[in-house]
Symmetry: C2
Subunit: 134 residues, 2 copies
């Protein structure tokens, strides 16, 4: 039961504050952090529809700028992001999601997209074979 | 000695990989995380000069889009960000900085800019009086 509990124990998003979030050219940046380890998993953008669907379903949705389409993260890979809480910054122009990540966030098979340090070292954990998933 | 040690113990940025980072309209987004607690402190943008100065000085520099000028974080407040390491994502279009934050990152006096959750609760720690600093 713990998994379903941790899903429903997040914030009640129906009480979301009536903040006018700043969508720039229709998009707001979202930082995605593992709710437990605090590892930053990825960075993406939401449009208003993706934001609304994320609040409604508690599954992270984004706007894919490359594909120019709504993107339910995990739809192809099964690696969904279960949203535990959402924070926003002082200027209300950036979101921070705490999630429980199924599998890995990165399409290259890593737990986090930020798997390389600036000196070229691979620091991230490979958690799946991207060739078998995509 | 520990503080100076933790500064110099970060990556040797002179060995930064020869990656062609993707600056979009001259800017790359940067997520800033406390190197120890892993708290996400802020989100900002760098232009190429800010990125170069950050690597050279190990003090975080950004591009202020509102002021349209180079921005050495902490120059007014004294709340510098000492860069311990830098990571980049799979698409090389977003940076993740691990920093040691002097004081608070947020101009509203909080440790982190993400001090509010979506249900309106103040979850962040107030660490200075912004009226005395700015």
């Amino acid at each position: 039961m713990q998994d379903s509990k941790s899903d429903s124990d997040g914030c009640d998003f129906s009480n979301a504050v009536n903040i006018e979030f700043k969508f720039e050219n229709g998009l707001i940046p979202a930082i995605v952090q593992d709710a437990e380890s605090k590892e930053v998993l990825m960075f993406a953008y939401m449009n208003e529809e993706a934001f609304r669907l994320t609040l409604e379903t508690k599954i992270a949705h984004y706007w894919s700028r490359s594909r120019q389409s709504l993107w339910k993260k995990g739809e192809t890979s099964g690696h969904y992001q279960h949203v535990i809480n959402i924070f926003f910054d002082c200027d209300a122009d950036c979101l921070l999601l705490f999630v429980r990540q199924d599998g890995g966030a990165c399409h290259e098979g890593y737990r986090s997209c930020f798997y390389r340090s600036i000196d070229g070292e691979i620091v991230g954990e490979k958690v799946f074979d991207e060739k078998e998933v995509y």
